[in-house]
C-alpha cells in the first residue's frame, strides 16, 4: 500500500464560509421537523388520554365525552368526522381516527407521511441515520401489520412513535452539522412545541375550570397530572413543587419555567435564538419579523409574574402566545422559503 502524500501547504482554510442553502430545502427541512414533533405530541396525547380513562374507571358519559373531545379540540380537528356510534366506544373510535385516518390532517399517519415525504425530498441534506430513523418510523405505522400491533397494545404503539420521534431529534442534533439546515429544524421543532403546549393548556384549563367544584379532589389531581403528562412534564414538575398539584403552579410551570425544555418559555427562547442564528448565517443585517415577534415574546415571558397570567386568565394568555407564534411561522416562510 502506498502512502497518501500529505500536502505541506493546505489548499483550504479551516474556517471555510458556510454553503448557502436552497430555499426549497429549507422549507422541507422546516416541515419535516415540525411534523415529527407534531406526531410525537399526538401520540402522547392519545396515550395519556387512554391511560387516564383506565385510572379514573367508570366515568360519567359526559366526562368521558369531554375527555376525548379535548384531544380533538387540542388538535383543532372536527369532531363530526369521527362518525356516529355508541358512547362507550367513543374512545376507540377517536383513537383510531387520530392514529390511522389518512384523511385526517392531524392523524399520526398523516403527520408521519408528511414528515417522511419532506425528508424524502431532501435526503441529500439530512444524514443517512436521520433518514433511516424517519423512514422506519413511517413504516412502523404504514406497514400491513400496524393495525394488529395497535390492537394488541396501543400503549406500546404510541410509545414506539414517541421514541421514534426522540431518536430522530437526537440524531438531528448529533449527526447533522449545526448550520442553517439544523437551525431550521430547531426553529420548527420549538415553534410546534409552543403551539401544541399552548393548545393543551388552553383546552384543559377551559374544561377543568368550567367543571368547577363538581369534581372530587382525587379526580382533580389525576386530571392535572394528566395535563402535565400530556406535556411530558410530570417528573420535572414534581421535583420543582414537591408534588403539589395546583392549577396556577401547573400553568406557570408549563408557561414560564426557564430551564425546562418542554416549557413555552424555554421553547420561545430556543426559537428566538434559532431565528437570530439563521439571520447571521444568511448574512442579513436587518432583523426579520419572526425574530422580532419571538424576541418580544421572549422578553415578556422572561419578566412575567404568575399573577399576570391569573389576571388575564390562563386560556386567554396562551391564546395570545399562539397567535404570535402563528405570525412568526408565517414571517419565516415569507422571508426564507418563498422563492
Amino acid at each position: 500500500m502506498s502512502q497518501i502524500p500529505f500536502p505541506t501547504v493546505p489548499k483550504f482554510s479551516a474556517s471555510q464560509a458556510a454553503r448557502p442553502m436552497m430555499a426549497r430545502d429549507a422549507d422541507a427541512m422546516f416541515w419535516m421537523s415540525r411534523y415529527v414533533e407534531r406526531a410525537e405530541h399526538v401520540a402522547r396525547l392519545l396515550l395519556v388520554n387512554s391511560n387516564l380513562l383506565i385510572d379514573v374507571g367508570d366515568l360519567a358519559p359526559k366526562l368521558l365525552q369531554q375527555q376525548w373531545q379535548s384531544v380533538l379540540t387540542i388538535m383543532r380537528t372536527e369532531p363530526a368526522t369521527t362518525g356516529e356510534g355508541p358512547a362507550r366506544d367513543l374512545g376507540p373510535r377517536i383513537a383510531q381516527y387520530m392514529t390511522f385516518d389518512g384523511d385526517n390532517a392531524n392523524s399520526l399517519l398523516t403527520c408521519l407521511s408528511r414528515a417522511r415525504e419532506n425528508a424524502r425530498g431532501i435526503r441529500e441534506n439530512i444524514s443517512a441515520e436521520m433518514w433511516e430513523a424517519i423512514n422506519t418510523l413511517y413504516w412502523s405505522i404504514r406497514s400491513d401489520d400496524a393495525p394488529a400491533r395497535f390492537e394488541e397494545s396501543p400503549d406500546d404503539f404510541y410509545r414506539q412513535v414517541m421514541t421514534g420521534s426522540m431518536l430522530f431529534q437526537g440524531l438531528t442534533d448529533h449527526t447533522l452539522a449545526h448550520d442553517q439546515r439544523w437551525l431550521f429544524t430547531q426553529l420548527a421543532k420549538y415553534l410546534e412545541r409552543i403551539d401544541v403546549t399552548c393548545r393543551v393548556i388552553e383546552t384543559k384549563f377551559s374544561i377543568l375550570q368550567s367543571a368547577g367544584g363538581q369534581m372530587e379532589a382525587a379526580l382533580r389531581n389525576i386530571q392535572w397530572m394528566a395535563v402535565l403528562r400530556s406535556c411530558c412534564s410530570i417528573e420535572a414538575y414534581r421535583r420543582h413543587y414537591l408534588g403539589e398539584m395546583d392549577p396556577l403552579r401547573v400553568a406557570s410551570f408549563l408557561i414560564l419555567e426557564r430551564s425546562f425544555p418542554r416549557s413555552v418559555r424555554y421553547a420561545v427562547d430556543m426559537a428566538h435564538e434559532a431565528t437570530a442564528a439563521i439571520r447571521n448565517e444568511t448574512g442579513t443585517l436587518s432583523i426579520d419579523p419572526a425574530e422580532r415577534v419571538l424576541g418580544r415574546l421572549n422578553a415578556q415571558l422572561e419578566y412575567a409574574e404568575p399573577s399576570e397570567i391569573l389576571k388575564e386568565g390562563v386560556p386567554a394568555y396562551v391564546q395570545k402566545i399562539q397567535s404570535e407564534i402563528a405570525d412568526a411561522g408565517l414571517a419565516v416562510q415569507k422571508r426564507y422559503f418563498l422563492y
Binding site: F12, P20, M22, A23, R120, R123, T282, G283, Y339
Partner: protein, 504 residues
C-alpha cells in the same frame, strides 16, 4: 438447495453441468450448501427490511398498488473472474471513446457522413439529433461523460453489447446499495473472495463533474438536476447528490440571468457551474426544446452555449445510442480509432433499409423488435413469444414508421441461479457496467446485473418485473502474497509520551 437445479442447455454462469460449479463459484457453492435454505431465507428477509427502511425504492408508472417499490434484490451474487473483466473493460473504454468522437464529429464536421460510413438520413431522421447542438463548444469536448452499456452473453458464453445508454443511464445507485446491503447481511460470503471495491464511484463521478467547471475555482458549485420526487429514478438522483455532497435541484430552483445559471438559496441567488442533469433533452429548456416543459430551466441552453455552465451528459448524445445507429458502432470504432471492436454487437436489422425490413416482416416470429428511441423495456416485441395478433400490430407499426424500428435475433441470455421459493432456479441475466469519461476513462468494476425474475422471461428491465444482483469482479490472483501480521508497532506508545485513556 441446488438439488433440482437445471442448466437447460443454456449458458449457466455458475454451473458447467448440474452439480459441477465453475472454479470461481465453487467457494460460494460450498458455503451455501453448509448454510441451508432456511438460513438463506432469513438473510433474504433481512435484506428486504434493510431496503425498505433505507427507502431504496423506485417508482412504477401506471401501477395502482402504490407508486414506490423496492427493487427486488436477489441475494446470490454474480461473479466475474479477472480475465473476463479485463476484456470487458478494454472493450468499454474503446466504445465510449469512439462514441464521444462520433458525437464530436456529428455536431461539427460530419466526416463519417461524408465518407458514407453512416447514412445521413439515419442521423437527420433521428429524434434525438439536436440541431441546437451544431457547432456548440462543449466543455473539454466531452459529450458522453457517463455511459451505461448493456452486455449480454449468448449460449456459448460470449459477451455482446446489446445497447449503449449515453443519455442519462440509471441504476448505479442500486449497484452501490446492493453491495452495502450484501456486506451487511452476508459478510461471511466475502471472506472467500477478493472482490474489487466499487465504493469510489461517487468520488470519481464528482471528479468527472469538477473537471468541467468553467471557472478555475477549487470549489465549483455543482448540482444534480432532478425532475422531482415523482420521477422513477428519484432515489438515485438524491443518492448521488448525497454521496457527492452536492446540491439536488429541481428546475424551479434554478434561474438564468444574463446567460449565467443561479440557484435560489435562503441567502439569495448563487451561481451554478456544473449541472449533472437527470432530465431528458426534451424537457431541459422550454425556450429551446419542448415549450410546455415545466421541469427545465428557461435559458439554460443559452447559458450552456455561452460556456457559462456545463451540462452532463451534453444534450444531443441520444444520437449515439439511438438503436438504429447502434449497428454502426463497430464501423465507428474502425473509422475513428483504426481498431476492431473488442466487444461485438448483436446482429441488427435496420427497418429503415428496404432489404432488412423485408426480412424482418417475413421473420417476425424469430426476432426481437425494438423501438429505436424507447428504453426500460417499453415499445418492444419478443417475436417468438408473442401472439400472432401482437406480431401483426407490430408489422403495421414497422410499415408506418420504419425509421423507428430495428430487429435482432433472439439472444438466449445466459442464466444464473436465483433464490426462488426456497431453492435455486436459473434466471436470465444481463450486465450494465458504468463508464465515466472525465480526465481519463474509468470503468466501475462490476455494474448492475439485472435478473428476469419471471421464469423463462428474457426481459430484465425493472419496470417489467426484473430484479438485480450484487456483481463481484474478482481481483487478479497474486501468487505468493504475504499475509500482514497484526502489530501495534506503529502506535506512538513506545516512548511513553502518549497519554493513557481516561478511566475511573
Amino acid at each position: 438447495m441446488f438439488d433440482q437445479y437445471q442448466v437447460d442447455g443454456l449458458f449457466d454462469e455458475m454451473f458447467v453441468a448440474p452439480g459441477h460449479p465453475r472454479p470461481h463459484y465453487s467457494a460460494v457453492a460450498s458455503r451455501l450448501k453448509v448454510l441451508g435454505s432456511s438460513a438463506f431465507n432469513k438473510r433474504v428477509r433481512m435484506a428486504d427490511v434493510t431496503f425498505r427502511n433505507q427507502g431504496i425504492t423506485f417508482t412504477v408508472y401506471n401501477d395502482k398498488r402504490g407508486v414506490e417499490k423496492i427493487f427486488p434484490f436477489d441475494l446470490m451474487p454474480r461473479i466475474i473472474p479477472a480475465n473476463e473483466w479485463d476484456l470487458i473493460e478494454r472493450g468499454l473504454v474503446q466504445r465510449i471513446t469512439a462514441l464521444n468522437l462520433f458525437c464530436q464529429d456529428i455536431y461539427r464536421d460530419q466526416r463519417i457522413l461524408r465518407e458514407n460510413i453512416v447514412p445521413p438520413e439515419l442521423i437527420y431522421g433521428a429524434k434525438s439529433f439536436r440541431r441546437e447542438m451544431f457547432h456548440v463548444n462543449v466543455p473539454k469536448n466531452i459529450y458522453i461523460h457517463i455511459c451505461g452499456t448493456d452486455l449480454v452473453r449468448d449460449k456459448n458464453g460470449a459477451y455482446f453489447v446489446l445497447e449503449d445508454n449515453g443519455r442519462t443511464p440509471s441504476g448505479v445507485s442500486y449497484v452501490l446499495e446492493n453491495r452495502a446491503v450484501m456486506k451487511r447481511v452476508f459478510p461471511t460470503l466475502f471472506g472467500a473472495y477478493r472482490v474489487r471495491a466499487i465504493e469510489d464511484y461517487p468520488y470519481n463521478l464528482l471528479q468527472c463533474l469538477k473537471h468541467l467547471a468553467p471557472t478555475k475555482s477549487d470549489d465549483p458549485a455543482i448540482a444534480v438536476l432532478t425532475p422531482g420526487t415523482y420521477n422513477s429514478a428519484y432515489f438515485e438522483h438524491s443518492f448521488l447528490a448525497r454521496q457527492m455532497g452536492v446540491e439536488l435541484v429541481e428546475g424551479r430552483d434554478l434561474i438564468v440571468d444574463n446567460a449565467f445559471v443561479y440557484m435560489r438559496t435562503t441567502a439569495g441567488l448563487r451561481r451554478v457551474d456544473v449541472i449533472y442533469r437527470r432530465v431528458d433533452d426534451d424537457f431541459l429548456d422550454p425556450l429551446c426544446f419542448r415549450g410546455d416543459s415545466a421541469l427545465g430551466v428557461a435559458g439554460l441552453m443559452n447559458a450552456y452555449r455561452c460556456g457559462n455552465v456545463a451540462l452532463v451528459n451534453a444534450p444531443g448524445t441520444g444520437v449515439a445510442d439511438d438503436k438504429a445507429i447502434y449497428p454502426f458502432v463497430p464501423d465507428m470504432i474502425k473509422f475513428y480509432l483504426g481498431q476492431e471492436a473488442i466487444l461485438p454487437n448483436v446482429p441488427t436489422y435496420i427497418c429503415a433499409r428496404e432489404s432488412d425490413r423485408k426480412y424482418v416482416l417475413e421473420n417476425l416470429d424469430k426476432l426481437v423488435v425494438k423501438s429505436t428511441n424507447e428504453s426500460g423495456g417499453y415499445g418492444m416485441l419478443m417475436g417468438h413469444q408473442a401472439a400472432q395478433k401482437e406480431r401483426d400490430e407490430f408489422a403495421e407499426l414497422i410499415r408506418e414508421d420504419p425509421r423507428n424500428y430495428i430487429a435482432q435475433p433472439v439472444v438466449e441470455l445466459s442464466q444464473h441461479p436465483s433464490f426462488i421459493d426456497d431453492r435455486f432456479e436459473g434466471r436470465r441475466i444481463d450486465l450494465r457496467p458504468y463508464i465515466l469519461y472525465g480526465e481519463k476513462v474509468i470503468v466501475m468494476p462490476g455494474g448492475l446485473t439485472r435478473v428476469a425474475l419471471r421464469k423463462g422471461s428474457l426481459v430484465v428491465n425493472s419496470s417489467q418485473g426484473g430484479g438485480s444482483k450484487d456483481t463481484w469482479v474478482l481481483e487478479e490472483e497474486e501468487p505468493g502474497e504475504e499475509k500482514l501480521p497484526i502489530t501495534s508497532g506503529q502506535l506512538p506508545v513506545a516512548d511513553g509520551s502518549a497519554k493513557p485513556i481516561a478511566a475511573r
